[in-house]
């Protein structure tokens, strides 16, 4: 039995400690928003936040996240009624096509904006190059991240983030 914190909720799972976090999320916790793409950390479809940092869940053994805070796409929005500014921007720019990579793209973008609220094109390229989009929506991803960054800087000063704090 391993305990972890997923989207703010304590979860106990039975899986073998070497099982990648991806399969625990999808098959044990029914959090299917995180996707399987390659299994070797090459495509980014499985990107989640661990302690606020982007990580590829397909290669992170369950034992490595013991007691840590995991955020998946299901936990990105601040509340069931309110989307994260990135999600709003993704809709505004009609960013997804097939949509399969987009949970990972959004989580990678969320990690970027946590550490860099005003990223340049080069910052975006650097932070997002681990996430493949076979539908090729890269222009829209760049534009949506900038829209979200602008939105976040105008609404309110940075609200304290529990996960950032928790991760030190």
């Amino acid at each position: 039995m391993i305990t972890l914190d997923v989207n703010g909720t304590r979860k106990e799972v039975e899986a073998d400690p070497d099982t990648p976090l991806l399969w625990v999320l999808r098959e044990e916790l029914s959090l299917t928003g995180t996707k399987f793409g390659c299994g070797i950390a090459q495509c980014g479809a499985c990107t989640v936040l661990i302690g606020g940092q982007a990580a590829r869940a397909c290669v992170i053994p369950l034992s490595n996240v013991k007691g840590r805070e995991v955020t998946t796409i299901e936990g990105l929005a601040p509340s069931p009624e309110t989307l994260h500014p990135l999600q709003d921007a993704w809709i505004e720019h009609q960013t997804p096509q097939c949509g399969y990579c987009q949970s990972g793209q959004l989580m990678a973008a969320a990690a970027l904006l946590r550490r860099n609220p005003n990223p340049t094109d080069a910052d975006i390229n650097s932070a997002m190059e681990g996430n493949i989009c076979r539908c090729g929506m890269y222009d829209r991803i760049r534009a949506a991240i900038k829209t979200a960054a602008a939105q976040m800087s105008t609404i309110e000063p940075d609200t304290p983030d529990t996960e950032d704090n928790a991760d030190g």
């Binding site: 796409i73 929005a77 539908c135 929506m137 890269y138």
Partner: protein, 748 residues
Amino acid sequence: MGKWTRRTFIGVGALAGGGILVGVAIRPGNLNKHVDDHVAGEGETLVHVYVKIDKDNVITVIVPHSEMGQGAQTALTQMLAEELDADWRKIRFEEAPALKEYAMYTVGRGELLKNIDFPKFIVPSIDAAMMRLADTLDAQITGGSLSIRVTGEYGMRVAGAATRDMLKQAAAQTWDVPFDEIETERSMLIHEPSARVEPYSAVAELAATMNPSYVPTLKDPKDFKIIGQPIQRFDIPAKVDGTARFALDVRLPDMVYATIQRSPIVRGRLASIDDTAARAVKGVLDVVKLPVTEHDALFGDFIADEAVAVIANGYWAAHRGLRALDIQWDGNDQVSSETIRARQYRELENTDERETDIDVGGATEVLATADKIVSADYHVPYLAHACMEPLNATADFRDGKCEVWVGCQNPLGFRRAIATSLGLHEDDVTLHNLLMGGGFGRKSTADWAMQAALLSQRIGRPVQLIWSREEDMRQDFYRPALPSRFKAALGNDGEPLAWQNTYVSKMEPVEAPVVPYAIKAKDIGYVPSEHYLPIGPWRSVDESQHGFFVESFIDECAHAAGVDPFVYRANLLQEHPRHLAVLERAAKEANWNQPMGPGRGRGIALKESFGTIVAEVAEVSLVHGEVVMDRFVVVADPGLAVNPDGFAAQMESGVIYGLTAAIYGEITVQDGAVVQSNFHDYEALRISASPVIETHIINSGHKTGGAGEPGTPPAAPALANAIFAATGQRIRELPLRKHISFSTGAQS
């Protein structure tokens, strides 16, 4: 979605809860001499598109195409809603179930019967995709960029207009006023003289008893209010919060997981297997061998080799189990990319077997006597589709019936293939189609869904079969590898007098290698070839390679003539004003005449495919000897872009898909098996190296063209031509990276 039954499709009927279902069946009036063999002996219902109206005046449009991100479900709903004069705020849609009444072949034949100029490239599509099926009604294909230009134009718009007429007839009868005095607006019926206004739902039940016209009057495009608007797609909100449901997300009670390996050597056989270690892996439940199976593929029957699956209580255990198997495969392990290539070059010279696409003006004679000859050989490799979502399907076989959950491009075809493999009647197979994480042509062949159904039948439990990325890469239906040889004779002014082109292997569209340029003598043909790897439709099919071949070679002719490549093309397009307008607009938007500095270059390419003409201009820079793609300008004339933002998204997507293939894409064969396995050795273009893409749409008002594929063919030649402009290096073989370095854009 409610339960669909055969009875639902008789035409119209009441729905539980007070709504109505309007079925619009377009029937042929008379079979006239213009109707060719395609319809002889048939002549039944030609279009089944459905409109539901509930008691709250909410209209649900039933869309007979799958969603793989191309946005066609929203655009098709726009087309029906437009002709119906529907209130967009109260429009819903549902994907049609996998039932014969939604087969698309009927739409194609409906087009023939109306004696409208049938796009020539659709005929072979229908032949190849459908005529080979035992039952020609078993196709519900989302592909060939057909959804909007065929289903939309000849199904959805007609259905919307017919339904509107039925509602007006019902109102005329109810109110006892003349039909012609009734107007419609935003799902309301209006009779001004008597000051009556009622929602569609008020007369829907009576309307349901009316006979739908199969030739209703369609709107003049100048009156469009919904078509042509950049309406937000229905499927996007669920794709930003993790709730979008793909096949991989299906969860059934008592479900187990499986992963599989098919013979890596084509037509290989299982020589030996020791599953002791696999069965010892914690969580592994069973190891199952699947026999060789035959099934329909889009380009002929395909034999799926033997495979071994590991069943477990989770994917990870199944994956570990599969890796623990000790398997030996037998087969022809002498085949390699080099042997395939050598054979194809021998075939290229086998003129006895050459088939002709077009032969006009005596090209051979012109070439024999010409002073100036340009010649070149081109080559492209096999390509995998590499959809983001690895192939997977969930099947539940019980009591002699099977339910299957899958994301596919041909639900009816899959249902039939699965039924055949299980030995069932197709009515005993229920197919649930889900969102596809990419399709690009791969998901039109049912091999993996058949495996899932067979596994459930064998183990007697619901099972989700998930292919590893490695299996997905190595068991594809590939874009073929092939060479193409060119020879052109240039006149004193540099313009081509003759154009000769021979290539190996042909799928479709038939006109893919044909050039629009004014060349009097043309001889284009091919030598048929058996492919070692299984082949299938890959985004834009043959247009992908011929776009690269012909638009590179015409660039070579321009260079040999000493003429600017844009001017050279434009001079040869005086008889094709639509092509010329697209080309000129692309040059204008890209500031073609503005010189670029040293180490920089622009390349242009033009290709009509799937009814849409696209020109692309690539701008590149050479930085430290590496190619950087700065910008792509895309100009497209689809006749009319039904959803301009969705159309632009398809162009962007088509460019990136084409560039990935142009720069990186190469599947090779060694020892009889595919070498590449995952994204580290079959790379995809990433955000850091992708160019800015600008799309400009020309709504010329010509016949509506496709969107999903036409953006891809010009991408590779535009880039290769830009590299030539920047470096003087003419690259005639893909992937380009074998010949020049590309920047990854990485910050290192």
